[in-house]
C-alpha cells in the first residue's frame, strides 16, 4: 500500500513521539499496543495494527529499563514493524511475519539507544557549562535537545523505511516461505516466556514462591478472568502482610500491639 504525503508526515511524527517515550517511559507512546495502534490510525489500517500491537505487547511485557540496564527497544520494534505491515498491504495475514521482523529490530534499536545515551553525556557537559553561568534557559534548551535526539532515534529509521517504499517491503515479505512464517509465529508464542522469566528473576524470593504455585493452579480455572485473579492476589497480599506482622509481635513476647487496631483502641479505654 502506498501512503500519501500527509500520512507519511504523521507516521514520522508518531515515530518521533515513540522515540521520546522510549527514554522518558512516562506516557508510554512507545508501548507496542499504543505505538502500533497510532501507526494504524494515521495510515487507515487500524485493525491489523491493533492486533500486531497486542501480539508485540505480550512479548514486551517484561521489557523494562531497570537501573542503568537497557531493555530491547520496544519503540523501534513496534513502529518499524507496523510500518512494514502497512506497506506490505497483507492486512491481518501479515501480522505474524511482522512480529518476526520486530525482534531483530528491537536488537538494532538497543544499539541506537546506547549511542543516544552516550551522546547525551556530551549534552550534560554542556549543561555543566550553562550552570556555571547560572543560565536556566540553556539547561532547558539542552534538556529539550536531548528529548528531540531520542525522538529522532526512531523518526529517522521510520522515514528510511518509508523512503524505501512499499515495493521492496512487499517483495521481501512475499519471498518468505510459509514454513518459515508459520514456524516463526509458533516461536512467537513461546518468546513471551522470556519477558516473564526476566520479571520472575527480579522478584522471586523464597518467601513469595508459594504464591506462584497458587497462581498457576488457579489460572487453570478458565472462568476466572485476570481481573478476578488480580482481586484474589491483592486480598492475599494484604492478608499475608497483616498476618506476618501479628506473628512478629507475638514472638517478640511483649508489647501491646496485637495487630488489631480496633482492639487496641478498646483496650486503651
Amino acid at each position: 500500500m502506498n501512503l500519501n504525503a500527509i500520512q507519511m508526515i504523521l507516521v514520522v511524527f508518531v515515530a518521533f513521539l515513540a522515540g521520546m517515550e522510549g527514554i522518558l517511559d512516562e506516557f508510554h507512546f512507545h508501548q507496542p499496543v499504543v505505538a502500533c495502534t497510532l501507526i494504524g490510525l494515521v495510515t487507515g489500517q487500524l485493525v491489523p495494527c491493533i492486533i500486531l500491537g497486542g501480539s508485540l505487547q505480550m512479548i514486551a511485557l517484561g521489557w523494562s529499563n531497570v537501573g542503568a540496564a537497557v531493555a530491547p527497544d520496544a519503540a523501534l520494534a513496534s513502529i518499524a514493524s507496523a510500518i512494514i505491515l502497512v506497506l506490505g498491504g497483507q492486512g491481518r495475514a501479515g501480522v505474524s511475519s511482522a512480529i518476526a521482523i520486530a525482534v531483530p529490530l528491537a536488537v538494532a534499536g538497543l544499539l541506537l539507544t546506547i549511542i543516544a545515551r552516550t551522546l547525551a553525556t556530551l549534552m550534560v557537559h554542556a549543561m555543566d557549562r550553562a550552570a556555571e553561568e547560572g543560565s536556566f534557559g540553556k539547561i532547558e534548551m539542552w534538556q529539550i535537545a536531548g528529548i528531540c535526539m531520542q525522538g529522532l532515534r526512531i523518526a529517522i529509521p521510520a522515514a528510511l523505511i518509508l523512503a524505501v517504499g512499499a515495493g521492496p517491503v512487499k517483495a521481501m515479505l512475499n519471498s518468505m516461505p510459509t514454513w518459515l512464517t508459520d514456524g516463526l509465529s509458533i516461536g512467537g508464542g513461546m518468546v513471551v516466556a522470556v519477558g516473564y522469566a526476566m520479571v520472575i528473576n527480579m522478584m522471586a524470593t523464597r518467601e513469595v514462591w508459594p504464591f506462584f504455585v497458587l497462581g498457576f493452579v488457579l489460572a487453570a480455572i478458565s472462568e476466572l478472568t485476570l481481573i478476578a485473579l488480580g482481586g484474589i492476589g491483592v486480598a492475599m497480599a494484604l492478608i499475608y502482610l497483616n498476618l506476618s506482622k501479628m506473628g512478629g509481635s507475638g514472638n517478640g513476647g511483649g508489647g501491646s500491639n496485637t495487630g488489631d487496631p480496633v482492639g487496641d483502641i478498646i483496650d486503651k479505654y
Binding site: 485493525v47 491493533i50 516473564y196
Partner: protein, 304 residues
C-alpha cells in the same frame, strides 16, 4: 522574617509537569541529572535571584541522580521543601540536600521497579493486549488511559506529600511502609505471573498424534444415516449434545494428554528454562532468537 519566599501551588504544578521529562537527557555518566535540574528550574528560579545563587543551585542539582522515574516525585517534593527553607535562611548545606536525594533514590527505586515495572505494567499490558488481539480499539485506549491516570495521580500526590512532609519524610521511609509495599507488590506479581504464563505462552504439540482409535458404533454421529436438509442438521446437533463424537475415529494428540496432566505445563517449563538461562547470563535477545529457531525447526519436523 517578613518576606519569606514560598512556592505556590502553580510552581509545584510546573515542577510536576516537568518531572515527566526527567529521563530526557539520560546519560551514562550521571544518568538522570540533567532532567533533575530541568525539573527543579521553576522552583529554583523563584527561590534564587542572584546569578551566584542560581549557578550554585544548578551545580548542586546536576550531581548524579538515578531512580525509578515515577518515585522521583516524592524526592522532588522533599528537595523543593529543603530548597525553600534554605533560600529563606535555614542552615541547610549542599551535603544535606545531596544526602537526602541519594538516601531516598535507592530505597524508592526498590519500590518503583516491582510496583510499576513488574506488577502494574505486565498486568495492565496483558489485559490491554488480550483485548487488542481481538482487534478491539478498547485495548490500546484502556492501556493508555489507565496507565497515565495512575501515573500522573501517583506523581502529583507523592510530590505534594514529599513537599509537605519535607525532610521528615526520610524518617517515614526507613520504617516498614516501604517494605510492606514492596513485598505486597511482589506477592501480587508472583501470583499473577503464572496465570499470564499459562494463558499467553502458547506451546502447542497438537500435530503429534498419540493414538487414533476407531470408536464403537453409536458413539459417533453416523453422517450417512442422517436425514437430508435442515432436519439432518437438527438431528446432528441433538446427537452431539447427547455426547456423541463428531468423527468415527477418536484422535488423541500429545497436547490433549499434556492438558489432562497439568494445563500449561509446557509453557511453565519453557519459562523456567528461560529463567535458568538468564541466570547463566545468557542475553535475553539470544534466548528470543533461540526460541524462534526452535519454533521453526519443530514446525518443519511436524512436532508443533
Amino acid at each position: 522574617m517578613a518576606d519569606q519566599i514560598k512556592l505556590s501551588k502553580s510552581d509545584r504544578i510546573h515542577v510536576w509537569w516537568r518531572s515527566q521529562f526527567l529521563q530526557g537527557s539520560w546519560n551514562y555518566e550521571r544518568m538522570q541529572n540533567g532532567g533533575w535540574a530541568y525539573t527543579l528550574i521553576p522552583a529554583l528560579k523563584k527561590l534564587y535571584t542572584t546569578k551566584e545563587d542560581r549557578a550554585a543551585a544548578l551545580k548542586r542539582h546536576l550531581e548524579f541522580f538515578n531512580t525509578h522515574p515515577y518515585v522521583a516525585s516524592p524526592i522532588v517534593g522533599v528537595t523543593m521543601a529543603l530548597e525553600e527553607e534554605r533560600s529563606n535562611g535555614a542552615p541547610i548545606d549542599d551535603v544535606t540536600i545531596q544526602g537526602v536525594k541519594v538516601g531516598m533514590m535507592g530505597p524508592l527505586a526498590g519500590v518503583g521497579d516491582p510496583v510499576f515495572w513488574f506488577t502494574a505494567k505486565p498486568i495492565i499490558g496483558a489485559l490491554a493486549a488480550s483485548l487488542a488481539l481481538g482487534g478491539s480499539i478498547m485495548g490500546p485506549i484502556l492501556y493508555f488511559v489507565v496507565w497515565n491516570v495512575m501515573r500522573m495521580a501517583f506523581m502529583w500526590y507523592t510530590q505534594e506529600l514529599g513537599y509537605k512532609a519535607g525532610s521528615a519524610i526520610t524518617d517515614d521511609l526507613s520504617g516498614g511502609i516501604l517494605q510492606d509495599i514492596t513485598k505486597g507488590a511482589s506477592i501480587l506479581g508472583m501470583f499473577i505471573l503464572p496465570a499470564l504464563i499459562e494463558r499467553w505462552v502458547t506451546v502447542d504439540f497438537s500435530p503429534v498424534k498419540v493414538s487414533t482409535i476407531k470408536q464403537a458404533s453409536g458413539a459417533y454421529i453416523d453422517w450417512d444415516k442422517l436425514p437430508a436438509g435442515a432436519k439432518g442438521i437438527k438431528e446432528a446437533l441433538t446427537e452431539q449434545k447427547a455426547g456423541l463424537s463428531l468423527d468415527k475415529y477418536k484422535v488423541t494428540t500429545l497436547q490433549d494428554n499434556l492438558n489432562q496432566l497439568i494445563p500449561g505445563l509446557a509453557a511453565l517449563l519453557i519459562t523456567f528454562l528461560c529463567m535458568w538461562l538468564l541466570k547463566k547470563k545468557v542475553s535475553p535477545i539470544w534466548i528470543i532468537f533461540g526460541l524462534f529457531a526452535f519454533g521453526v525447526i519443530m514446525h518443519v519436523l511436524g512436532v508443533m
